[in-house]
Amino acid sequence: MKGYAGLLLLLLGIVVAASFGSRNGERHIAYRQASAKVGAGNAVMGLLDEGRALNETLKSEGVDLGALSMEQHLALIESDVRLQTQVQKTTEAIDDLRKWGMQDGDSPQMFVHAAQIERDRIGLPGPRERLSAWFQTAGVGWLVGVVLIVCGALLARLQEREDNAGGAAGTAGRVDFRGTMAETLRRLADIRASIQDLPMDADAASARHAIDQLGDDVLTPLVEGRGQLVARHGLAAFAEYFGPFSAGERNVNRAWSALTDGHSVVARESLDAAVVAFEAAQASFEAVEARG
C-alpha cells in the first residue's frame, strides 16, 4: 500500500515540479517572442539571398532577368522549375510577414530591423535575474512538487524496508544467497569433472550447455533479486560479498568462452578460479550476516 501511494506521490511530484520548474520568467518569454519575429524576417531574407544566387546562376547560363520583358519573365517562370519554386516560396514567406504585421510598402529588411530593435529593447535577462525571475514565477509550485517527490520516495523506501523485513507476504527471503552458492558450487563441481579429461580443441557442447543452465537457473535469479540483499545489508556490506560473487560469475563466463575456443586447459583454470571466488563470496556473506 505504501509502495503504491509512494509511486503516486512521486509521479504527481514529478509532474508538478517539472511543470513549474520548466516555466520561464516574463522577460525571457517576451525576448523569445521577439526572437520569433526576427526569425520570421530572417527566413525571408534567406530566401531573397537564395533568389539572388539563382539570378547569378541564370546569368551564367545566359539568361539576364533584368533584360527580359514582363511577358518573357512570366514565361520563364512558367518553364523553369527552380524559378517557380523560388518565387512560390518567397511569395508565401512575404505573405507570412504581412500576417506578422509588415506594412505594405515596407521591405523585409525594414521589418527585420524593427524586429531586432524590439528584441534588443527587451534584452535577454542575465543569469542572476533569470534565476530570481524563475523562482518568483514558479518557485512555490516547484517546491511543492519537490516535497511530493521526497514524500513519495520515502514512502517507497519504507515499503521496501518492510518487504525485506518480512512485513509483506511472499517477498521476504525470496533470495537465498546461501542456497544459491551451495547449488552453484555443486553444479560447478559436476561441470569441472565433466571436462577433467577433455582434450584441446574437443567439442564441449554439453559442458557449455551446463554452464548456460547454471546461469539461467541459479545465478540470474540471484542477480535479479539482489535489491533484497542491498536492502537487507546496506550497499557497503552487499559490495563485500557481491564483488567476489561477480568475479566468480565472470570466471564461469570465461570458462564458457574457452570451451567455445577449444581451450580446455583455460576452461578448467577458469572454473577453478570461479570456485575460489564463489567460496570467498560465501565466506564474506557469512561474515556480514554474523555482524548483523
Binding site: 512521486l10 509521479l11 511530484g13 514529478i14 509532474v15 515540479a17 517539472a18 511543470s19 520548474g21 520548466s22 516555466r23 520561464n24 520568467g25 523569445r32 517572442q33 521577439a34 507570412d96 506578422w100 535577454l124 542575465g126 533569470r130 534565476l131 524563475w134 523562482f135 516547484w142 519537490v146 517527490i149 521526497v150 520516495a153 517507497a156 523506501r157 521496501e160 579429461d197 582434450p199 584441446m200 580443441d201 557442447a205 539461467d216 540470474t220 539482489r226 535489491g227 536492502a231 557497503a236 552487499f238 559490495a239 563485500e240 564483488g243 567476489p244 561477480s246 568475479a247 565472470r250 564461469v252 563466463n253 570465461r254 568462452s257 570451451l259 567455445t260 575456443d261 581451450h263 577458469s270
Partner: protein, 597 residues
C-alpha cells in the same frame, strides 16, 4: 590437469590483438572525423571492430580466442572515441575564429595535451566504478551486450546465429528504407489524429533504438515514463496554462509548432540537463559506500595477487591514482598555456573544476549509455564550455580547449564501461582491457586533431574541407563539409557571449534530480532527465521496445528472452550500425567522386 593434445597459449592481451585494434582504431578515427563533419553524427566503433576482428583473427589468422577479439574491439573503439569528442568541440573554435581573428592563434601543444588528458582521465575515473555499474547495478549497456553476443556467436549454435542474422537483416532493411526516404525518420501517428505538435505521438524508426529497448526490458521503463510525463502531461499543461504565449502578431498557423519548439528547447531540455546533473551527483553520494568498499577489495585483491605472484583482476588503485594526478596536471598545463589571459590561479581552478565536471559528466554518460544506449554528450559539453567560460571570464579559447578534454573524457567513460560490460559477459580480465585502453589513449586525440586540421585548410582542388579558406568552401563545391555539430556549439558559445544560459532550469532540474534519487530504483533521475533531454519520438520507440520485451517475457518466460530475444535485439543493433556505416562510406565516396549531393 590432463590433456591429450599439445597445449597452446590462450591469447588475450596479445600483440596481434592490440595491433589489429590499433590499426582499426586509427582508420576508424580518421574516417569517422570526416563522416561526422560531413553528416553531423559519429558512430561507435565497438560493433564494427568486433566484426572485423572476427574476420581477421578467427577467419584469416585462425586465432580462436573470444577474449582476444574483446581486446581488439576495446582498443579500436577506445582510440575512436576521440573522433566524436574532437569533432563536436574543436571545429566550433575554428569557425568562431573566422569572425574573431584573435581566436585563430590558439596553441596546438596545449590543445593536444588537453585532449590526451581528457582521454586519460576518462579512463582512470571510470575504472573504479566498474564494479558499481557492471557488477552491482548491472546496467544493461545494450551495445555492450550486442557485441558480447556477437563475440560469443561461435559457441551459441546455429539457431541463435540465425536469429542474430535475422535481426541484423531486418535492421539493415529498415535502415535502408529510411535512408532511401521510403519510410520517414519518425512515424508520426499523432499527425493522423491531428494532434498538435506539443502533444506529439511519433515513433523514431530505428532498429538499434528499438533493439536497445528490447534488451533493457522493464529496467528501461522509467525512461519511457519520463518522456510520457514530459510530453503528454507537462507539455499540454504548459500550453493550457498559457506558459508559452506566442507573439501577438504570430500567424495562428505557426503557433503550435513554435510552442512545441519552445517547450522542448527552452523548458524541458534544459530542465532535463539539470536533472541529469542532480541525479548523477546524488548517485555518486549514494554509491560512495559501495565504491569505497569496492576500492578496498581491489586493494586487498591486488595485495594478495602480489603475494601469490599472480596478476590482479583490475588495475591497482596506485596506477589509477597516479594516472589521475598526471591527467589533472596535464589539464592544468593546457589551461595555463592556452591563452595569455589565463593566470596561475585561473589555470588551477580550471584544472580542478574541469576534472570534477569531467568525472561527473563521465558518470552521467556511462549511466545513461548503460541504461539506454543513448549518450547526452552534447548537453554535457555545453555545460563544460559554460563552466569554463564563466571561470575564465569569457575566454573562448580556454573554454573550448577544456571542452575538448571533457568531451573526449565522457566518450571514453561510456566506451570503457561498455567494453568492460562486454568483457564481463565473455569472461575477459578487466585488467587487460583497462591496460590496453590506458596505454593507447593518446593515439585517438592526435589522429582526430591532425585530420581536423588537414580538413580545415584543405588547399587543393577537389579536396574536402570545412574551413572558409579551404578551396572546396571558397568555390562552394560539394566537397565543402557542413560540420553541423560544430555549428551548433558555435551557436551555443555565441549565446553564452550574450549571457543566454539556462541557469534557472539547470538549478531547478538538479534539485529535482537529487530528490528523485531518494526513490529506491537506481538511476531513475538520470533516466527521467534523459527522457526530457531527448526528442520524444526516440523515447517512445524505446519504451515500445521495453513493453514488447516485458510482454514476451510474461508469455514465453525468461529463457526465451535469453535464448531468442537477446540475439535478435543484438542483431538489430549490429545490423543498423553496419548498414549505416556502409551507407555513409558509399555516400561519402560517391560525393568524393563528384556524384554526390
Amino acid at each position: 590437469m590432463s590433456s591429450s593434445s599439445a597445449v597452446r597459449p590462450y591469447p588475450e592481451l596479445s600483440i596481434v590483438g592490440v595491433l589489429l585494434g590499433t590499426v582499426q582504431g586509427v582508420i576508424m578515427t580518421a574516417s569517422f572525423v570526416y563522416i561526422a563533419l560531413k553528416l553531423g553524427f559519429g558512430l561507435g566503433g565497438s560493433t564494427v571492430a568486433a566484426i572485423l576482428g572476427f574476420v581477421a583473427l578467427r577467419g584469416v589468422l585462425g586465432r580462436k580466442s573470444i577474449v582476444e577479439n574483446n581486446i581488439n574491439q576495446t582498443v579500436a573503439s577506445g582510440i575512436n572515441t576521440a573522433s566524436s569528442g574532437v569533432v563536436f568541440t574543436l571545429p566550433a573554435l575554428m569557425l568562431l575564429s573566422v569572425n574573431d581573428p584573435s581566436l585563430s592563434h590558439f596553441p596546438i601543444g596545449p590543445l593536444i595535451f588537453s585532449a590526451i588528458a581528457g582521454s586519460l582521465m576518462g579512463i582512470v575515473l571510470i575504472i573504479p566504478l566498474r564494479k558499481q555499474m557492471v557488477e552491482f547495478e548491472r546496467l544493461k549497456f545494450p551495445s555492450g551486450v550486442a557485441v558480447a553476443t556477437l563475440l560469443k556467436s561461435p559457441g551459441e549454435g546455429l539457431s541463435q546465429g540465425m536469429i542474430l542474422v535475422g535481426g541484423a537483416v531486418l535492421a539493415a532493411a529498415l535502415t535502408l528504407l529510411v535512408n532511401f526516404a521510403v519510410l520517414p525518420e519518425d512515424l508520426d501517428v499523432g499527425h493522423l489524429f491531428s494532434l498538435p505538435p506539443w502533444l506529439p505521438f511519433a515513433l523514431y524508426i530505428s532498429a538499434a533504438n528499438f533493439g536497445a529497448g528490447l534488451l533493457s526490458g522493464k529496467g528501461g521503463l522509467p525512461f519511457a515514463l519520463g518522456g510520457i510525463l514530459a510530453w503528454w502531461v507537462i507539455s499540454p499543461i504548459a500550453v493550457q496554462m498559457g506558459w508559452v504565449p506566442p507573439h501577438a502578431a504570430m500567424p495562428e498557423v505557426q503557433v503550435p509548432d513554435w510552442q512545441a519548439g519552445e517547450i522542448y528547447s527552452q523548458m524541458l531540455r534544459p530542465l532535463g540537463i539539470g536533472m541529469l546533473i542532480g541525479g548523477a551527483l546524488a548517485g555518486v553520494v549514494s554509491a560512495f559506500p559501495a565504491v569505497t568498499g569496492a576500492m578496498k577489495s581491489l586493494q586487498a585483491a591486488a595485495k594478495l595477487a602480489r603475494e601469490q605472484g599472480a596478476s590482479a583482476d583490475e588495475l591497482s588503485p596506485t596506477v589509477l591514482g597516479g594516472s589521475a594526478v598526471a591527467a589533472v596536471i596535464m589539464l592544468f598545463l593546457s589551461a595555463f598555456f592556452s591563452s595569455d589571459d589565463v593566470g596561475l590561479g585561473t589555470a588551477v581552478l580550471i584544472a580542478i573544476v574541469g576534472s570534477l565536471w569531467l568525472a561527473l559528466a563521465g558518470i552521467i554518460v556511462a549511466q545513461a549509455t548503460g541504461a539506454t544506449d543513448i549518450s547526452p554528450l552534447s548537453g554535457l559539453a555545453l555545460i563544460a564550455v559554460t563552466l569554463m567560460f564563466f571561470i575564465t571570464g569569457g575566454n573562448v579559447t580556454a573554454a573550448v580547449l577544456i571542452g575538448v578534454a571533457v568531451c573526449i573524457a565522457t566518450s571514453q567513460c561510456a566506451d570503457m564501461m561498455q567494453d568492460l560490460k562486454t568483457g564481463h559477459l565473455v569472461g575477459s580480465r578487466p585488467r587487460e582491457q583497462q591496460l590496453a585502453q590506458l596505454l593507447l589513449c593518446w593515439i585517438g586525440p592526435i589522429i582526430a586533431i591532425g585530420v581536423l586540421f588537414l580538413l580545415w585548410e584543405a588547399p587543393g582542388d577537389g579536396t574536402p574541407g570545412f574551413g572558409p579558406q579551404s578551396t572546396a568552401c571558397l568555390q562552394e563545391t560539394q566537397f565543402c563539409l557542413a560540420a553541423p555539430q560544430a555549428g551548433a556549439l558555435q551557436g551555443m558559445i555565441e549565446a553564452l557571449q550574450s549571457s543566454d544560459a539556462a541557469v534557472d532550469k539547470y538549478a531547478g532540474g538538479a534539485v529535482l534530480g537529487g530528490a528523485l534519487s531518494i526513490f529506491p530504483i537506481g538511476g531513475v533521475a538520470v533516466l527521467v532527465g534523459l527522457a526530457m533531454y531527448l526528442p520524444f519520438s526516440i523515447t517512445l520507440a524505446y519504451g515500445f521496445g521495453n513493453v514488447v520485451a516485458m510482454g514476451l517475457e510474461r508469455v514465453y518466460g525468461r529463457e526465451f528472452i535469453g535464448r531468442k530475444l537477446v540475439p535478435f535485439a543484438a542483431g538489430m543493433i549490429v545490423g543498423e550500425a553496419l548498414t549505416q556505416l556502409t551507407w555513409n562510406v558509399v555516400q561519402t565516396g560517391s560525393s568524393l567522386l563528384g556524384g554526390g549531393q
